[in-house]
């Protein structure tokens, strides 16, 4: 039944988008974490989406899957602060490479996409309910 697939598709997209939202929250919260459990400064995390068949193998029932969560390879921000306990010999402290502007945009985009998918699931629900009362 094609319409029930819409639930799987929208559901997979919602899972993926909420993971993206979680990643953004983690990045924003750790924008100033100069050290972590590994002893290294926090690195921004990004999710990688990939299109994935859901349910029965049908070419057009394509949901979203988070393939992996990667650490942003861009260089860390160096801040001059010789009094900082973690400063290097030259007095620089390595700060996380979190770009707050980018993260805000990511957050807005993820929340909009999430809303769109909720909307889609609701439409499918309305259509299925109408289908149940077909011929009455």
């Amino acid at each position: 039944m094609s319409l029930s697939n819409v639930f799987s598709i929208a559901g997979s997209a919602m899972t993926a988008q909420s993971l993206r939202l979680n990643t953004t929250a983690s990045n924003m919260a750790n924008a100033d974490s100069v050290t972590s459990s590994t002893g290294q400064p926090y690195r921004a995390k990004q999710v990688i989406f990939s299109a994935e068949n859901v349910g029965v193998p049908m070419q057009s029932a394509v949901g979203v899957k988070v393939k992996s969560v990667i650490e942003d390879p861009s260089p860390l921000k160096l801040v001059y602060d010789p009094k900082h306990p973690l400063a290097d010999a030259k007095g620089y402290v390595a700060m996380p490479n979190v770009n707050v502007v980018e993260e805000m945009v990511n957050m807005l985009s993820a929340s909009r996409s999430y809303q769109t998918n909720v909307d889609m699931a609701n439409t499918a629900k309305t259509l299925l309910l109408k289908t149940l009362t077909m011929g009455q």
């Binding site: 819409v6 989406f49 394509v62 985009s109 769109t116 109408k130």
Partner: protein, 134 residues
């Protein structure tokens, strides 16, 4: 009589099947709006409906001379020919989903689906009136 009823409803049934399938296709497009390299897909509804009503398959059959020859895989239940949407504003990550188009088509398709259901109900009512003769 049963075959008459079948014929009566076949057009609407085919249309409803295709509408549901299109809804699913459009849902995939919207869901993958942020997936890199995803290509938006859709099909020509009018063409597929004509084909379904005529009862012709649009698949090109390959003639095989050995049991080990591979046949093209039937990728969807209705045998619909899925096409790729040409993008209006291509994005750098290779994604061709245009949210405005997809949302508009999704809503349009949902309304057509409901219209179709309404027509089926109308047909049932007509038949009941004919049966009861009142």
């Amino acid at each position: 009589m049963a075959s008459h009823l079948d014929n009566d409803f076949r057009f609407l049934q085919n249309a409803l099947d295709l509408r549901a399938y299109r809804q699913q296709t459009l849902a995939s497009n919207v869901a993958n709006a942020d997936t890199p390299n995803y290509k938006a897909r859709d099909f020509d509804f009018a063409k597929e409906l004509t084909r379904a009503v005529d009862g012709r398959g649009n698949r090109i059959e390959l003639k095989t001379t050995s049991a080990r020859h591979l046949l093209p895989k039937q990728d969807n239940p209705l045998g619909v020919e899925l096409l790729y949407r040409s993008s209006v504003q291509p994005s750098i990550d290779g994604n061709t989903v245009d949210m405005d188009i997809e949302r508009a088509q999704f809503t349009d398709n949902a309304i057509h689906y409901q219209f179709n259901l309404d027509r089926i109900s109308g047909k049932v009512k007509n038949l009941l009136t004919a049966i009861q003769g009142q």
